[in-house]
C-alpha cells in the first residue's frame, strides 16, 4: 500500500511538472510508468529526526 501511494504521489508530481513547463504535451505512456522512481521502506530514526528510505530508479532503453 505504501508503495502504491508513493506511486500515485509521484505520478501527480510528474503530471503537474509537465503541465507547467513549455514542453509538448503527450499522454502518459507505459514508458513513463516504467521510468517512475519508486520509493519504499521508509524508516524513522529512533530520535525522530530523520527518515531513511529506498529509491528505485529505472533506466529503460528503447
Amino acid at each position: 500500500m505504501v508503495k502504491f501511494l508513493s506511486g500515485v504521489v509521484l505520478v501527480a508530481g510528474m503530471l503537474g511538472g509537465t503541465a507547467g513547463a513549455q514542453e509538448p504535451r503527450q499522454p502518459f505512456s507505459p514508458d513513463d510508468l516504467v521510468r517512475l522512481n519508486r520509493l519504499s521502506d521508509p524508516q524513522v530514526s529512533p530520535d525522530g529526526r530523520y527518515v531513511v528510505y529506498t529509491l528505485r530508479e529505472t533506466e529503460h532503453g528503447g
Binding site: 521502506d41 524508516q43 524513522v44 530514526s45 529512533p46 530520535d47 525522530g48 529526526r49 530523520y50 527518515v51 531513511v52 528510505y53 529506498t54 529509491l55 528505485r56 530508479e57 529505472t58 533506466e59 529503460h60 532503453g61 528503447g62
Partner: protein, 272 residues
C-alpha cells in the same frame, strides 16, 4: 547506468530542516536497500550487493564510506537491529541439513555451488510447497540468525541460528520480511512468527509466535499454541512487560481479519 536495469539507493530526509531536501546516502553501482537504524540515530545498517552478494553494510551519517559488516558465504535477505545495537537479526536461506552444527553457512554455499555445476536439473518433491506464487522451493529454508556487532559495526563471532530447530521458513515465503521478528527491549530475547511446514504447510495458516534467547542458547518456545490460526508481527512494549501482535481466529482462512492482541508477559493476561 545500463539500459533496462533498475537500481536501488538509500536517501535521507532531515525532518527538522525547514525546507528539507532529501540527500542521497549511497551511490554505489550495486543495489542498496533495507536501511535499519542503529539506536544512536547516527548510523545505519543496510543490505547491499556491492561485495557481489547481499550482505549487511554499516554507514555513519557523519560521513565516510560504508564498511562491510557481514561476510557470509551466502546472501542475507532480511535485517533488523536490536534496540541497544549489540546484535543484528538477519535471515538467510540455508539447506536444513546444513544447520544445527554451528550455523554452517559454508555447507549451504558449497551445496549451491555443486548444484550450479551439476548437469542434473531434476528435483524430487515429497511434500508441498513445490512453488508458492512465484517462488520455487529449491530445498532451502529461510532461517533467522543473530550475530553480535561492535560499536564500529563489525561482527563478533559466528551467527547463531534462532529458528533452525523448527521445520519452518522465518520469515515466511514468499513475502515475509523483518516485520515477522523482533527483539525484546533489552535485546536478550527474540520473538518470531513461524508456520511448521510438515506435510500440511500448503493449506495451513497456523503461524505461531516463538520466543528464543538471542544468544542462540535453548530452543524456541511457542507462545501462541492456544491459537490454531495465524499469529504474526510481534512487538514489545518499551518496558518489555507486554507483547503485542496480530492474530486471526479461523484456522486455514487466509483472508480472516487480523486483530490486535496484547499480552502481559508476567501474568499471561491478554487483551484483544
Amino acid at each position: 547506468m545500463e539500459a533496462n536495469k533498475g537500481r536501488t539507493h538509500l536517501w535521507l530526509l532531515d525532518l527538522n530542516a525547514a525546507e528539507g531536501k532529501p540527500r542521497q546516502l549511497t551511490q554505489s553501482e550495486a543495489n542498496d536497500s533495507n536501511a535499519r537504524w542503529a539506536p544512536n540515530s547516527r548510523e545505519i545498517y543496510f543490505l547491499s550487493t556491492r561485495s557481489g552478494s547481499s550482505q549487511v553494510w554499516h554507514l555513519s551519517l557523519a560521513g565516510g564510506e560504508a564498511t562491510q559488516t557481514t561476510r557470509f558465504p551466502v546472501d542475507v535477505d532480511a535485517l533488523k537491529v536490536s534496540p541497544r545495537g549489540e546484535r543484528l537479526a538477519v535471515s538467510i536461506a540455508v539447506f536444513p541439513h546444513c544447520t544445527g552444527n554451528g550455523a554452517d553457512l559454508d555447507c549451504t554455499a558449497k551445496r549451491l555451488e555443486a548444484r550450479a555445476k551439476s548437469p542434473e536439473t531434476g528435483r524430487v518433491y515429497d511434500r508441498l510447497f513445490v512453488r508458492h506464487w512465484d517462488t520455487w522451493d529449491d530445498g532451502r529454508q529461510s532461517h533467522l540468525f543473530t550475530v553480535r556487532v561492535d560499536a564500529d559495526g563489525k561482527t563478533l563471532g559466528a551467527p547463531a541460528d534462532m529458528s533452525g530447530k523448527l521445520d519452518a521458513d522465518v520469515p515466511s515465503k514468499p513475502w515475509g520480511g523483518d516485520e515477522e521478528f523482533t527483539f525484546s527491549p533489552d535485546g536478550a530475547q527474540v520473538v518470531f512468527s513461524a508456520r511448521i511446514k510438515g506435510k500440511t504447510e500448503a493449506w495451513s495458516t497456523n503461524f505461531d509466535l516463538y520466543e528464543v534467547a538471542a544468544n542462540g542458547s535453548g530452543a524456541p518456545v511457542n507462545l501462541t499454541a492456544d491459537n490454531p490460526a495465524w499469529d504474526t508481527q510481534p512487538a514489545f512494549s518499551p518496558d518489555g512487560r507486554q507483547l503485542a501482535w496480530l492474530a486471526q481466529e479461523r484456522p486455514g482462512f487466509e483472508s480472516d481479519r487480523f486483530h490486535l492482541v496484547i499480552r502481559d508477559r508476567a501474568s499471561g493476561k491478554r487483551a484483544t
